[in-house]
């Protein structure tokens, strides 16, 4: 009888521990799925969820604060994702928060990353719709990476041919590095330049006051501007046929008048010429 009771106690302990372990396991799993905490719900509409699954984590500043509860396709370009978030994290998420889909690693699970939004905005509420941004697609990264590699290949091949040319002494740089005569010329040029710059410096020091020079240069520029303005005015007038020159250049009547004046003058002068020749032979003016 005593043995029977001991066996019953042993069996009771065995069953109790077994059930307790099951409860502990269920509690820990439930704790992970936010089952025993007060939570709130948010929804977000994504264009592409990149393989996100229910149960995936939701992160705020790298901390797991919730899980994906439900995923449903609402149209051909939009997928609605419902997430459950720990109420403790609610005060950090503002109305202008943005949810995006990231990855735990190159081969890891997908996660929803929440950008909490600006400090001044109101807190997000239960059942609010959160703004979303497009997930970074590994395929697009790989495509961009491929392009970069292609570019790098062409750049390196160009560099290779350049270095080859330099080594064989082709081009300015190549001759500079490889040709002794060129290098000496270059060195001489640099020495001359150095001298020149030294002299220029001395010259500048000799100038009493750089500011004065600058001011006078400024004035010169100002005057030049005025002169050019005047010039443009004059040319404008000229073009419009104003003034003597303008009329000379642009007015056809004046031109004709001038032409006839010149013809008259010419005729006049030729008449004068014959008169003078006649006068030379005239006895009246003998002796002049």
């Amino acid at each position: 009888m005593k043995k029977n009771t001991t066996n019953k106690i042993k069996l009771g302990v065995f069953i109790s521990i077994g059930i307790l372990l099951l409860i502990v396991i269920i509690y820990f799993i439930g704790e992970r799925q936010q089952m025993f905490r007060s939570t709130f719900r948010l929804t977000g509409v994504f264009r592409d969820i990149a393989g996100l699954q229910t149960g995936n984590n939701v992160r705020l500043s790298g901390v797991n604060i919730g899980t994906v509860e439900d995923i449903s396709i609402i149209s051909d370009t939009s997928v609605e994702v419902a997430i459950i978030i720990d109420e403790k994290a609610q005060r950090f998420i503002k109305k202008d928060a943005i949810a995006s889909i990231g990855s735990e690693g190159l081969m890891g699970n997908k996660v929803i990353i929440i950008n909490p939004g600006k400090g001044g905005m109101k807190r997000i509420r239960d059942n609010d719709v959160i703004a979303t941004s497009l997930p970074i697609d590994i395929d697009s990264i790989l495509t961009a990476f491929k392009k970069t590699i292609e570019n790098t290949t062409s750049i390196t091949s160009d560099l290779a041919s350049m270095t080859k040319n330099i080594e064989s002494g082709k081009g300015t740089l190549g001759r500079l590095i490889m040709d002794k005569e060129w290098r000496e010329n270059f060195e001489a040029t640099f020495i001359n330049l150095k001298h020149g710059s030294n002299e220029f410096r001395v010259l500048m020091e000799k100038a009493n006051n750089i500011d004065d020079i600058v001011v006078s240069v400024k004035e010169t520029i100002k005057n030049t501007a005025e002169i050019t303005a005047n010039l443009s005015k004059i040319t404008g007038n000229l073009e419009a046929g104003k003034g003597t020159f303008g009329r000379l250049l642009m007015d056809s009547t004046t031109a004709i008048n001038i032409d006839s004046t010149f013809i008259n003058l010419k005729e006049g002068t030729s008449g004068l010429k014959t008169l003078l020749e006649k006068a030379k032979t005239s006895w009246l003016l003998w002796g002049f």
Binding site: N7, K8, L11, L21, I26
Partner: protein
């Protein structure tokens, strides 16, 4: 048939028939007879289980023998499986640089599949053969007949109690095996690494979900039921003779283990169907 062959004077007149055909016929007949009697046995269990008296004391006694007494064996097996699985998986995961996934992977393997199935196989080996041999020897020594004469329902007292105990004890043993297996895995992780128990178990619970653990525990009810039922059936219907005891014990283990895998296959299909 044996008569026809042994009687040489009549063998000319009687058609001997195709021996292989006769053998196939008898195998088929035996198979279907077996299926029938097993189904009848199962129905009888479900009929008897609701009827009083409930034999609570006998159920508790059997639970103690089947459950509590199996714990050391199950715990050692679970520990070794957790340890070995971790050590074996490490090189493969290390190839991908994913050693940090070791706790998650091993935990899901143990809780979903290895824990329940290994526990059920050990259970079939220890308990299934035990029940088969016990009932067969009772049958041989005509104790079952004696019970019937003394107005005790032997089916109720011997079969129903054992099947119920096996059905209820296997899930509890599986939970123990899972927990001990996870501890074994924790030690396996720490043989070549340095992971704190807190980090290890937080990684474990991060990867395990209710969809992993609940169907796994639920299916062990069916494993336990099948092992208990087959053990009892084989023992209860054993041949009268000493070789019948060994045969019953043997076939209880073989058929019980096979049924564990068959049920596991069905369970995994149903689980994956429910998850999608």
């Amino acid at each position: 048939m044996g008569k026809t062959i042994s009687n040489k004077s009549l063998s000319v007149k009687v058609e001997p028939g195709n021996p292989s055909k006769i053998l196939a016929d008898s195998v088929f007949k035996n198979f279907f007879i077996e299926v029938y009697s097993m189904t009848a046995f199962t129905f009888r269990f479900f009929k008897e289980v609701w009827k009083p008296p409930y034999e609570i004391n006998e159920i508790l006694k059997q639970s103690f023998l089947i459950g509590y007494k199996s714990l050391p064996l199950i715990a050692i097996t679970g520990f070794i499986i957790g340890l070995v699985l971790t050590i074996q998986s490490r090189p493969t995961l290390a190839k991908f640089g994913a050693e940090s996934w070791l706790p998650a992977m091993v935990a899901v393997s143990i809780i979903r599949e290895i824990g329940p199935v290994i526990t059920a196989l050990i259970f079939a080996g220890k308990v299934g053969s035990g029940i088969g041999a016990e009932l067969a020897s009772m049958n041989v020594t005509e104790q079952i007949d004696a019970m019937q004469v003394s107005d005790t329902n032997p089916f109720k007292y011997l079969v129903v109690t054992r099947i119920l105990s096996a059905t209820l004890m296997l899930p509890i043993l599986t939970i123990f095996a899972d927990v001990v297996g996870l501890f074994g895995s924790y030690m396996g992780v720490n043989i070549k690494g340095n992971v704190s128990a807190h980090l290890y178990f937080s990684q474990v619970f991060q990867s395990v979900t209710f969809e992993d653990i609940l169907p796994a525990i639920f299916k062990t009810l069916f494993f336990g039921f099948a092992i208990g039922l087959i053990g009892c059936y084989k023992g209860y219907n054993s041949n009268k003779g000493t070789e019948g005891v060994g045969k019953s014990a043997n076939s209880a283990v073989v058929f019980g283990s096979l049924m564990v895998f068959v049920i596991d296959m069905i369970a995994v299909q149903i689980t994956s169907l429910l998850q999608n």
